[in-house]
Subunit: 444 residues, 2 copies
């Protein structure tokens, strides 16, 4: 079934490691974990006019059988297609019990009702962080959040990432300053720069965004500006356009680049050609590529929005980014960028000499587990050679042969070394205790 | 929206603790974690004739709009209603790459398309462990798995549990020995014993299961037998019925009780009145109640099945149990059986004296986080009193006032104690480092 990625146990070890690592970084930065239900009312899912997102609608099988011709669902429920819409609903629903600014992370599956033949994910995991304020949210969060993500991604067994940023205020301020009124249309055209090239962009800005030839060339010059230091702002200003909004945007961009240079040099670059997202975000926007895997597209995107939600009395501005965990993991596992040292948690297999004496092996296992050593007991009292093969097939490094409890012998089946050991005190090397996740060039 | 439980951040801390704790116990016992997609073909979901389960069918919103009258889904997909059906499919699909016996745990949400007005969960989390063999699976796993669950549940901040067991072979062997042919019907009647009482059961066994009055009384006598030691088998034998299957079942029951008495005395009890599940399991069955919360029903159930799946060449017998995490958690949180020491991961809030000097506070935060201390920075350079209230509202125990880096002062806002500290070396007390989950009677 295409579009629904699923991993064998060794792939799941890598996925679990990635999820644990993300969670740890998010929590070190003070983000509280929440989980929302997978299901939202359709009215909520369509609230933002997100008609481009394919939604799965739910229907009770019993209802469908009873009234096969009835359209719609009894109560109009659908699966969430991202974690932002449910988070907005959660914030409104619980505003009275949350403390703002509220920093949350959320790692969950989302679903999109794509056509099966399109080869897109129909179920995938996202890992989001957002900060939302009540009525106001200081700019500094726009500089901090991409750095949290940079740290989170740097802790994963993946190639380095490059976070590209732009700012709605720069694009809008610039376009308005040069008299290019249809900002949205201009952004849509600029977004195609990579695909259609400069000449076609200049042409389209005139035919689709109502630009003059000069305006089109200026917009193109803006889009060509990239860089990871404050001189980016000077190069934009050198194009000659002036407006308060543009200045504000450039100041923000510079503050972000300065913070990034201090915390994580070389990770963040300003890129004035980034247009995707600028149409609905209101400040900084982010896209992230995996160095050497740019064709994968953005693995972590987001931005600043002035109104995540509003309940009539209060407005909740926010800034957030979302990692496409499944997209990332499919590449990591597909290319062997990271692998698990073994597909099972087990560090020790306790052998069973005789089925009548299984209780002795169980006792050894209890001693080892009580000290935090993941342990399995052989399923049958087969010949020891077969029991060792059981361990070997699963990558379990040690086999324990019980003697007079707690004495026994433990064999490292990789080296063949066997030595007497005490089940109450023996420890495997730390590196063997739990499965490890190894990058491409790490020794096993 | 009823039936879709969702927690505030402090509840999520408890839930996450429960999930982490379960995972750790399962992994210490050598179970490999897997995750399956939430979606299965309807044909798979209905394969077992599980018509009693309410399934949510998926439909692409776009298709529904295009053809509102078309019944069914383009590709017949539904949300899984348990983790056993998807696991069976996963085993068959990946049999060539799995090593058997295969021990897996799986912690995921499941969905049931109940009517909203029924007040039942429509989305909830289950935590399952299963062992499946290829063609054979030794009995000892039936004795081990409930003990893994007993250990997993004992590690949670909940009251003690009682695991009740029965064995299909005992019931079936007994009924057959006394000539009661319609085993399924008899089990259905016995299952109502609590509700309708002895007299009505004797009556119904005759009218619904074709029993004679003597057979009905004998079945009732069997159902009355309970106990946590091997004498249970003697009491069953004392009823006079004899058959090979009955003997096999009683031997298994005794082995299980003996193993339980050794590993976890007082946790497992044989209860011959348990009938639920016996109709589709083939050996031991399990139900688990929370002591003092029996009205909650079973929080962990399962059993032995001779054929989890079959691909024509091979059959995969298994034994497994499933914890109803959401059911358990709703009670735990609803009754305050466990609470989080704070709703955020943060141990330290770094104060900001002046917005222009935010970088100093960020530097302190980086030092603390680099040593694994979850740290937040004040959102604004408000008066210190307000910043302390920010920490207080979130239960953050420490506020850091930066000085000449790495020197500063740290205040325990609970005691008011403030002392000089070095951001490169200071450690909070271990108990304050991460949120803790406290049982009802534990001091905060």
């Amino acid at each position: 079934m295409s579009g629904f990625p699923e991993w064998l146990p060794d792939g799941r070890v890598v996925e679990q490691h990635v999820l644990d690592s993300l969670r740890r970084t998010f929590e070190l930065h003070g983000f509280a974990g929440i989980e929302t239900r997978a299901v939202e009312p359709l009215s909520q899912l369509e609230r933002k006019g997100e008609t481009s997102k394919e939604v799965y609608v739910l229907r009770r099988l019993q209802d469908e059988r009873a009234e096969p011709d009835a359209s719609g669902t009894e109560d109009g429920l659908g699966l969430h297609f991202d974690l932002t819409v449910p988070f907005a609903r959660y914030v409104l629903e619980n505003a009275g019990q949350l403390a703002f600014p509220f920093k949350r992370y959320q790692i969950q599956k989302v679903w999109r009702g794509e056509r099966p033949q399109d080869g897109r994910f129909r179920e995938f995991t996202q890992a989001d962080i957002d900060v939302v304020g009540a009525d106001t949210l200081p700019f500094h969060f726009e500089a901090e959040l991409p750095l949290v993500m940079a740290e989170a991604l740097a802790a994963l067994p993946i190639p380095p990432v490059l976070i590209s940023v732009n700012n709605r205020k720069v694009a809008q301020g610039f376009y308005e300053a040069i008299g290019l009124a249809d900002v949205e249309a201009a952004l849509r055209v600029i977004d195609k720069l990579d695909k259609i090239g400069s000449d076609a962009v200049v042409e389209s800005l005139q035919t689709e965004a109502g630009a003059t030839a000069d305006q089109a060339r200026a917009a193109l010059e803006l889009a060509a500006i990239k860089g990871d230091d404050p001189s980016v702002a000077d190069r934009v200003r050198a194009l000659g356009a002036r407006s308060e909004l543009l200045d504000e945007g450039l100041d923000e961009l510079v503050r972000l680049l300065e913070a990034a240079q201090q915390a994580s040099p070389g990770t963040v670059v300003a890129d004035m050609s980034i247009a995707r997202g600028l149409d609905y975000y209101t400040g900084t926007v982010y896209e992230t590529t995996l160095v050497g895997h740019e064709n994968l597209g953005s693995i972590c995107s987001g931005g600043r929005y002035d109104s995540l939600a509003s309940d009539g009395k209060r407005t909740y501005p926010g800034v957030g980014l979302s990692i496409g965990v499944s997209r990332l993991l499919t590449r990591v596992l597909g290319r062997g960028l990271a692998t698990a040292s073994r597909p099972v948690p087990t560090a020790v297999l306790v052998a069973v000499a005789d089925e009548a004496d299984r209780a002795s092996s169980d006792r050894v296992a209890r001693s080892l587990r009580a000290r935090g050593i993941p342990t399995d007991v052989a399923p049958t009292a087969a010949k020891f050679g077969k029991q060792i093969r059981y361990a070997d097939r699963r990558g379990i490094p040690f086999v324990w042969f019980p003697g007079e409890h707690p004495a026994g012998e433990v064999k490292d089946i990789r080296s063949g070394d066997q030595a007497p050991a005490d089940a109450e005190t023996w420890q495997p090397p730390a590196a063997d205790l739990w499965p490890r996740v190894l990058g491409q060039d790490e020794p096993r």
